[in-house]
């Protein structure tokens, strides 16, 4: 089962410049673990102390995982996972 993950500009240093990569997993957490196994360092940019970094949004098929179970959010076969940095400030 392959999931397509869209990588934002700021994380493409971890993917050799690739805008999207394939990964495996049935939850967002598993997909991130799988990404980390091939793109070392990427998990630390997304997760702090076991939860999603507040500066990052992750979507599964257009749904923000904050409203869908967080890192436990299910990822279906052929799902698209999109990672986007939040645009915010003070």
């Amino acid at each position: 089962m392959a999931v397509t993950v869209s990588i934002p500009t700021i994380l493409r240093t971890h993917t050799g410049g690739e805008k999207s990569v394939e990964a495996k997993g049935s939850t967002v957490g598993e997909v991130i673990d799988d990404l980390e196994s091939r793109h070392s360092g990427i998990a630390g940019r997304l997760i702090t102390d076991g939860s999603l970094h507040r500066f990052v949004n992750i979507y599964v098929d257009d749904e923000d995982i904050r409203f869908a179970g967080g890192l436990q959010a299910p990822v279906g076969e052929n799902s698209n996972v999109t990672i986007l940095p939040a645009v915010a400030g003070g």
């Binding site: 500009t9 500066f55 979507y59 939040a86 645009v87």
Partner: protein, 151 residues
């Protein structure tokens, strides 16, 4: 340096005035690799706050999908400060995650005048840059003036 059309500067300032005293925010998209801001996209400040701004997460996804389908990137990411100077706050720096973007800040603290400044924010380091406001990109100065004039 940020080279930007005068009408886009006017749009940003007008948006900032309209939303004052809350912070206004948005993007000017441009063709990937061009560094040329072209398409003005005002965004809703989901925080509706005088001290914070945030793109709604659904709006953010739609914005990036739309830019991707047009081969665009966010050349300018702008927001206003409504009671302080047009300089990135600590929060702005901690959230900044588009190393290629020009972060534009407008201050609307003075009713009759505004500050309009542009910054690069890379790995937590803020670098102010010059802003060159032009009428059209067609005649904008684009490189070193190293070609001698001939009469």
């Amino acid at each position: 340096m940020l080279v930007i059309r005068a009408d886009l500067v006017d749009e940003i300032v007008a948006h900032a005035r309209r939303d004052h005293p809350d912070e206004a925010c948005g993007v000017i998209a441009g063709p990937e690799g061009s560094d040329r801001p072209e398409r003005f996209i005002p965004m809703v400040n989901a925080a509706r706050s005088p001290t914070f701004y945030e793109f709604d997460s659904g709006d953010l996804l739609r914005l990036y999908r739309d830019m991707e389908s047009r081969d665009e990137v966010p050349v300018v990411i702008y927001h206003s400060h409504t009671a302080t100077e047009a300089y990135p706050s600590r929060t702005d720096i901690s959230y900044a995650s588009e190393p290629e973007a020009h972060y534009v800040l407008v201050s609307t603290r003075e009713p009759d005048s505004h500050e309009f400044r542009s910054f690069r924010i890379v790995d937590g380091v803020v670098t102010e840059e010059d802003v060159d406001v032009v009428e059209s990109y067609m005649f904008a100065h684009t490189g070193a003036d190293d070609v001698p004039d001939h009469d």
